[in-house]
Every structure is written in C-alpha cells, then in structure tokens.
Symmetry: C2
Subunit: 360 residues, 2 copies
Amino acid sequence: MVEKRVTGRDVARAAGVTTATVSNVLNGKRNVGEATRERVLAAVRKLGYLPDQNGRSLRQRNGHAIGVVVGKSLSNSRYGRTVEGMLQEASDRGYRLSLCRNRIMPNGMRDYLAAYYQCNIDGVIFMSHDTEGPDSESLQTVIDGNIPFVALDCQIPSTKYSAVDFDYRGGAADATCNALSYGHKRLLYIRPSVNNAQETLREEGVRQACAEANATENLIVIDVDVQIQLDDEFADTRLEMSEDPTHSYAFYLDTTFRKLLSGRIRPGDAIVCSWPGWSAIIRSAFPLPNVMFTDLASESLSMSGTDAFCVMPNAQAGKVCVDTLVSLIEGNAPQSHLLPIRCFDVHRKQIVNERPTVES
Amino acid sequence: MVEKRVTGRDVARAAGVTTATVSNVLNGKRNVGEATRERVLAAVRKLGYLPDQNGRSLRQRNGHAIGVVVGKSLSNSRYGRTVEGMLQEASDRGYRLSLCRNRIMPNGMRDYLAAYYQCNIDGVIFMSHDTEGPDSESLQTVIDGNIPFVALDCQIPSTKYSAVDFDYRGGAADATCNALSYGHKRLLYIRPSVNNAQETLREEGVRQACAEANATENLIVIDVDVQIQLDDEFADTRLEMSEDPTHSYAFYLDTTFRKLLSGRIRPGDAIVCSWPGWSAIIRSAFPLPNVMFTDLASESLSMSGTDAFCVMPNAQAGKVCVDTLVSLIEGNAPQSHLLPIRCFDVHRKQIVNERPTVES
DNA sequence: CTGAAAGCGCTTACAG
DNA sequence: CTGAAAGCGCTTACAG
C-alpha cells in the first residue's frame, strides 16, 4: 500500500553503518559507540523508520501479541471494561492485543489455539462467560504444549497455568452483612437458577453472612429462570436487527419478576439480587416503602436503582491478567490471584471494606 | 515455547515434495496434481501443520489483521457490541482484529498509524467516542499514505477514505413522531449540553418531527450539563478502584436531574431523552402519572424504564466497517454508509419503521 | 566497538 | 505439473 517502505537497510545506508548496528541501537542489546548511536538515531528520525514487526517476530520466534478470548460476551460492559484494562497494561508492556473467539476451526482446533500455533500470539487470556471456561480437550492441549495461559473468572485452579478469579463469596458476604446492618426483618436473596461456581460462591457468601448474624431463619432464597438469556447467543442481536424485539432480556426479566415475586415482597424487606440491574427492575415493578435493595454486581447505571451494590474490579482484573501472562511468557511459574469484590453503600456513600457491625 | 515446531519443510519431507508445493496446496494458487495434493494434505493432517503467519506476512507484505481504534470507550456496551460484530465478520473473512488506542507515541505518531507502518495491521477502523474522530494531522497522514481507513460514527465524510455513520436525525424524528402520536400536550426534549454532530442531528430530527406535526410550539428543549463524564476519562475507574465512588456517572445524573427538572415536568408530558438510561433515572426521580418516556439510544436494560427507545445497529455497524475496510484493502474505492436507527415502542411491541400517523 | 553472514518460515517468480 | 532458488526484513551468533 505504501509507495516506498523505509527499511532498516535505508537507515543503515543513511547512517553509514550496517543493518546489524541499526538493530542494536534500536533494541539496545549490545553497546554501540555514542557517535554511531547518534548518527543512527538521527537517520531513524529523519526517515521515520518503524521496523517491520513480521521480520522481527519471524527471527525472534515470538509475536509480541496476546490473544484474548472474548467468547460471545463483549457486549456485556463488564467484559469491555476488562479488555480496556488489558489494553492499557499490554500497550505499556509492548504487547498488542489480538481478539480471539472460542470457535472450533475446520481442523477441530479452537481458534485461539490455532492463533498460538500460527505464531500470531504468544499466549492466551481466556475470559470466561459466566464462569464457563475452556473445554477440557483444549485445556489439555494448553498443558501438554506448555502454552502461556491465564484463565480469568473460570474458577478452575491448576498449577499448570495461571488463574485470576473474583472473590464472589467475600463480596456477597460483605454486601449481605451491610444489608443486615439496616435491621430489616427478612432477607430475600434473588438468584438465577444456574449452577455455576459464581452463583454457588455468592450463595455461600450470603448464607455465611446470615449465619454469622444469627439471621439464617430470616433468609429466603428465590430462584429465577434466566434460561432465555443463557440459551440464546443472539437474543439481543435479534432485538438489534428488529427480528424479534420482544425477546429482549430486560423485557423478559421485567415480566418474569412481576409474576415470580407478586405477593412475595413485603414492606420492610431487604433484597439482595445476584445480577446487575435487577434491583432497579424489581423496585420499579414493586414500589413498596422501606425496602432495601442490593445488587451483587454492577453496571454503569446501577447506582440509580439500588441502595448498595458490589463493584467488580474489572479493569484491575484485565491488568492483572496481562501481568500474569507476560510473566508466564517470560518463563516464570504460574500464579493464582483472587481479586476482592467491594460493596458500595449508596446512602452511606462508602465502600463496605470490612463487615460493619450488625445492629439487629 | 513449543518443543518442536512443525514447519512447511517437515510437511514437504513427509509428503516427498518441496515446500513450494506445500504452499501451493494450502493456498490453492496454482494447480497441483490430485495425487500430490492428497499426499500433502495427509501429511498436513498427520503433523498438525499450521503455517507460521510471520513468514507468510513478511513475504506477502500484508498482515491479515485489522486495527480497531477503541479509544477510551470499550466499557460502553455499545462499543463492545460493535467490536463483537467486527470480530465475527473479520474472522469469517480471514482477518484478525488487533486493538489500538488513540495515543500519541514517543515519536509523535498515533499508535494506530505506527501499527500500520510496522505492518501489524493492514488497515484501520476508527471508532469515534461520541462522534469525536481522529485528529486532523493523523487524518492527513491517512490520506497522504493511502492508508485503508474507515471512520465509524465520526460524521466526517470524505472521498479519500470510507465512512460508516448512523442516521441520528432520522431515528430522532421517528421516535419523536411516535411520542407525538400518543397525543400528549407538551414534548420535553432533554439533551446533553455538548456540541457534536450526533446531538445536532438528533435535535434537528426532533424539531423536524414537531414541525411536521404542527407541534413546534409544544416543544421544550432542556440542556443537561454532563461535563463530569466528558471531562474525566477515569470517572468510573475511580469508582472501580474505590478512590472516589461518589463521582459515579449515574449518581451524578440522578442528582443533576432532580435539581434541573424539579417543577418542570408535569403529568401528561411526553419526554424524549438523548442518552440511554436517562428515562429510567428521570422516571424514578419524578414518579408522575401519564408521562411518556422515550430514549434516543439504548443499553441492555433500557426497556424496563422507558416507553420507547431507539435501537442502535451496533453489531451491524461493526460488520459493515469490516466489509468496507476489506474492500479498501483489496484496492477498491472508498464507500460511505448511513445506517438507519429504528425506534421500538414497548407498549405497541413493534419497531416504528415508518412514522406513524399523528393523532393530535 | 562494528561488520559480514546466516537464517527465521514462508511465497513466488523462474526454469524445466 | 513440479523443483530449485531467491528474497521479504529483521536479529543474532560469529569474526575481527
């Protein structure tokens, strides 16, 4: 596309040196005389030389790029935020971010593994979608091939690759503890009827906090069928494409909550919801006095519809993933990280860092 | 990392041919005898050969990758959705997606231009953030260098590069027309006090629809100061990092709306909001009867707090961008696209495709 | 401290 | 229809 590419040879000629010296000046691998160095740098500036990364990668046997498996989930702002954190950290560390899916290629291999073997990427960050991790066959390939691999939010610890996870249990416990501190009689915990590690841990956290506050008998757990969202990869694509707008997630939830919760919420209840935005929908459907809402996760507009919510450290998770992966690529041992989830109380305007004293 | 890389030479040896033949079989560039072809493919399968893309790119002078400038905006679900559309289309077309920012490098060049000159990417899709496009110097570089370039949502048409834009005017007109069709006395249009193409077009659409319905005297335009969000790149990072949670966007908006709109909303009003989620916040702050809300944009949970909203064709925009860019890379002329924005009415449960008849 | 040369893995004219 | 060879642009031992 460009008429005349500037190459290392052009710079060498202009500076009166060889391409080896140009390379050594730019990469600082070995000592170069000050005068020569200056001449080379001047030529680089003058010609606007930017080394071709393909030649570099071919020779060095690494691509200076990280593959990020985003699955079907990038429209979820949570994952977007995570990728943003990754992007910042990766560019600071001289790595590019290359997006992958989790699709099976014609040869039966997942696309992100193929990208690795094709030397497009030096390692993989696998972002799970609702703690759904990589398939076991791919995981075995990762282990056998010693592929630098970070599993984000997959809840599958291993000594063979790195893992970054969220402390769902602790976050839920803190949030529940905060809710109980307001002295409401009952605690309704509304969770999706899906069985994954995330929801199991959250429920454990809720139960644990209730037990510690001697409020186990006040806890009512309500399961919500969210099948529609989990089954249909293209639910909101259909909305977007105007093909079947009534299947929208929020519309479905609103309808579902109205049916499911009718007559079950009472004034004076404390309500803890597993997923972001649920508080606002339920509050708007059941405008009862003296009900305290908490979401165990948050989206951008969460604050307007709830009294407290957990803040997912998504950007931080992205950074930690990149750090951990680069460490693996450099030959270090795998690490595991468990990131804390903080609960923010809208009225008290503060993070509930430690569990507040219960006033029951 | 991998102990023993499988190379084209290994395949050639196993099949009793030269590397040239292996390449020709895999790329289908020239005719290869059926028997030879079978032998090569068998060897490829047996050895699990995946060609190194660096060697390929170095020789072919292109990287089979597209750069996407995501700026500071990927945590906005709208842009995540767009990237999702790009990813699907790009992988279908054999291109990788490489994330770029819009940062100035030490040499004074934007990172996405550097990536192009380093042959990391074959072209650029520039996703604007609130119709904020590339700086004019970079744009000149793009034009002078004949760099394949697609400006998404930048509202800066040119014959030198491609542009994909949204029909904000048409969407706003349709939505306003739909709101007027309910026969409310007044129409309050609540828009951010920012001067960009997007907001200008939306207001034009609103005014145009009012004029066509002879309702211009019923229109009241209210500007909202959203300075906090536009000024502070890290507003929600601070929230996430627990550094200053009270500056959250939603919290700020809630407070602002309560002050700004106090006493100005009356039962029986129709309210049109420029940005997604505003309807829900305002409705919850002013629970008045018989008020009809419309958002001129949508997020995932929009439906629960509003009566009608515009649906941004984000995934489609992503696909169109990739198609357009690939066409440019292949040497075709630049194109311009204007994507329609549909308005969805929650009660009528349908897309307002054509403007409904006004019943005033 | 610097140069001449080899080679990373691929594709593509050039011969036959 | 297939092979032998050149070369994409870089980095890195190897000499000096």
